[in-house]
């Protein structure tokens, strides 16, 4: 690992070490560019991942206070956890379930495809799908995604057999064990999946791709990376010319430090990325850095997401096996006849015993109904609906001056009013999932409400017109040439795809651009 001086004005400073930041760090360092990678969380390892579900959650999750508002049911159901994001080296790639899905061609031109939708702030992505596809293919090779590049699929689990049987009886055509960034055989100097079912707690075999044990150590091996874990960025500074000059952060002892920078890349997951830009206000940028358009924090998307559970009268033991290894792709299309714009995925999903009770059911479930379902825990099957969330300008991350964190900084408030399109899509998806389980013989079907989002997107979105977003097609801030957004915040819209593959693809593309810009001294 390199040691980079805090006064080194040639360093690229990346804030956040997840899918975007970790990948970008590797891509830049392997080209000889010096990178300081700041990460708020601690560094775990395959050996240190807790396998006690509640402990693992605490080990990996951002648990500092946030507030929320709006009509979303998350406000009522999860008052202290509006969003489920990670705080650990590797970010959400440590807790993700590894569904590596591409956005579809029409999903990057949703404004054109769906037309004007009342109450939605849709824009088309400012890049060509063909170019995105090129980077998807690179990302899939790097992450060793199953069913791509000749990599075999994961084998069908008991849980998937139920899902597949119901889906086929319902008439679905595209049903398989998914495009997963989980090794179905040893590859990439990592082991294969042993179907232990503990994906979300941190994969102890390393079969699941995570920047923690792929991109980051490989970046360290170049000699060009200095990872500073447990270091919290609190402010990005700029010079008289409006260019970013340094990142102020708190070191593990809580002391303020200042790292000078030639380029700054923000990849803190959408909530904290927005918060950091808003906290970096100045006389030149009175509403926050890169926010002359007043778009930072707006258009927050989180996917239409909820669980549907089938209760059967025969054992399934759905905790055995890769947590999310199953998908129906047939509903991922734009078909207004269904009563909503955009599409969704039906994804196989299991939860461990403690988590299903806390997060799997409506918060109004108790008594004999709850007892019945829990007594059938070993005979349950689950589906997570993951659908395109339409952006609203008023769904946004703001600073809440009424609540301060340990450093005295206002926390983020997440405001979400569910769009009627989401409600219609959720109803449709719930009915389809219910029909799927009933076709497989379920004796009862239950539905959760919207769950706290781990897919947080679009709050510093790419836009052709600087008035519509925060960054250009390369994630470069419209206002600040040497400031980049390198996480899901930069996505122009949410699409129906779990976002990690897109974040990695965009980071690979961004690395090419940053290298070109640095070599021509444009930045």
């Amino acid at each position: 690992m390199a040691s980079i001086s805090r006064d080194d004005t040639n360093a690229v400073v990346i804030i956040g070490s997840g899918a975007g930041g970790g990948t970008l760090a590797h891509e830049l360092t392997r080209r000889g560019i010096k990178v300081v990678l700041l990460e708020a969380g601690a560094r775990q390892s395959l050996a240190s991942f807790s396998q006690v579900p509640g402990e693992a959650f605490v080990q990996l999750t951002w648990l500092e206070p946030r507030t929320q508002s709006g009509t979303t049911t998350v406000v009522e159901d999860y008052p202290t956890l509006p969003s489920w994001t990670a705080k650990t080296v590797g970010g959400t790639t440590v807790h993700w379930t590894a569904a590596a899905l591409r956005t579809r061609p029409w999903e990057v031109s949703p404004r054109t495809t769906y037309g004007a939708v009342d109450g939605a702030s849709l824009i088309d992505w400012p890049l060509d799908y063909k170019e995105l596809l090129h980077y998807y293919q690179l990302a899939e090779q790097r992450m060793v995604v199953t069913r791509r590049n000749g990599i075999p699929g994961l084998p069908a689990s008991n849980h998937f057999k139920v899902f597949h049987y119901g889906a086929k009886r319902l008439g679905y055509k595209q049903v398989h064990t998914g495009y997963m960034a989980i090794n179905s055989r040893p590859a990439d100097d990592r082991g294969m999946c042993i179907q232990q079912g503990f994906c979300v707690q941190g994969c102890k075999t390393g079969a699941k791709w995570s920047t923690l044990y792929t991109e980051i150590p490989r970046a360290e091996a170049t000699g060009n990376l200095e990872l500073r874990a447990e270091c919290r960025a609190v402010r990005i500074e700029h010079g008289a010319d409006g260019r970013a000059t340094a990142v102020v952060y708190r070191d593990p002892g809580g002391n303020e430090q200042r790292q000078k920078a030639r380029v700054v890349c923000v990849a803190c997951n959408a909530v904290e990325t927005s918060r950091l830009l808003l906290l970096s206000d100045s006389a030149k940028f009175p509403h926050g850095l890169a926010n002359s358009s007043d778009q930072v924090g707006r258009h927050f998307c989180h996917h239409t997401g909820c669980f549907v559970w089938g209760v059967f009268d025969r054992p399934i033991e759905f905790w055995r096996g890769a947590t999310l290894a199953g998908i129906v792709l047939d509903e991922t299309r734009h078909d207004p006849k269904r009563g909503f714009a955009g599409g969704y995925h039906l994804e196989l999903a299991a939860l461990d015993l403690p988590s299903i009770a806390i997060a799997g059911f409506p918060q109004t479930l108790w008594g004999r109904k709850l007892g019945f379902v829990m007594e059938h825990y070993r005979s349950m099957a689950g589906i997570f609906l993951n659908g395109e969330d339409l952006p609203r300008s008023s769904n946004r991350i703001t600073l809440n001056p009424g609540l301060k964190d340990q450093f005295g900084l206002p926390v983020a408030n997440i405001h979400v009013d569910d769009h009627p399109n989401n409600a219609a899509m959720r109803r449709h998806g719930q009915q389809q999932a219910k029909a799927l389980f009933e076709a497989a013989g379920a004796i009862q079907v239950l539905m959760s409400r919207q769950t706290p989002a781990t897919h947080n997107m679009c709050t510093a979105r790419m836009s052709r017109d600087p008035n519509d977003g925060v960054v250009n097609a390369h994630g470069q801030a419209h206002d600040v040439a040497n400031l980049f957004v390198s996480d899901g915040s930069a996505m122009s819209t949410s699409s129906s795809a779990n976002p990690t593959l897109t974040i990695v693809a965009l980071a690979l593309r961004q690395a090419d651009y940053i290298e070109r810009q640095m070599s021509t001294r444009a930045i």
Binding site: P155, A156, M192, Q196, L353, I358, T364, G367
Partner: protein, 185 residues
């Protein structure tokens, strides 16, 4: 089964309350526990309050064949919340008082009726949330629900039944994938 309330000596010794019980003979928990008799000290709540909360937890998450012991862990968690936060103590104490002295010994249908009245209150939400978060997180109950917990130390389920379901047809290879390593077994 059936938590009883002992007052006197333990409260004299500093604990504010205590819950005791006896594991049913043949209970899976009895195999794990050093003794069938158990006792759990409360630091903030009184014994009678603990008994009411234990009955509330049993009503919220009823499992007839599950011993009182894991429900007592819920009371312990609530007691801990009350010890850490004065507002929680007030909330729980008032809620218990509102349920009344007869709650713990009332029939289940009566307890359900009494809790339904409180369903939207912070008291109920707090007790429900702690019940779910504690009861099902206790390794004491894993066996009862058939849950197997961590499996890494046992090599996962790849060769131990992740695909042993036989009441539905097998998935065609195109929609599945090879079980690497299965040939040697």
């Amino acid at each position: 089964m059936g938590a009883s309330v002992i007052t006197g000596r333990r409260e004299f010794l500093g604990a504010t309350g205590v819950l005791t019980g006896m594991l049913a003979a043949g209970s899976p928990l009895a195999l794990l526990a050093p003794s069938r008799a158990w006792a759990l000290d409360l630091t903030t709540l009184r014994s009678e309050e603990g008994a009411t909360l234990l009955a509330a937890a049993r009503t919220i998450a009823p499992h007839d064949k599950l011993d009182d012991a894991p429900y007592a862990l819920v009371v312990q968690a609530l007691d801990g919340n009350a010890a850490r936060d004065a507002a929680t103590l007030v909330l729980l104490r008032q809620g218990v008082s509102d349920l009344g002295a007869g709650f713990a010994t009332a029939a289940e249908t009566e307890r359900v009726t009494m809790l339904q009245v409180t369903e939207t209150t912070p008291f109920f939400k707090s007790v429900r949330a702690t019940t779910l978060a504690t009861l099902y997180a206790s390794p004491l109950v894993y066996a009862y629900f058939g849950y197997e917990g961590e499996a890494f130390s046992k090599g996962g389920y790849l060769l131990r039944g992740f695909n042993d379901l036989r009441w539905l047809p097998e998935v065609p290879p195109a929609d599945s994938g090879p079980v690497v390593g299965a040939d040697s077994h």
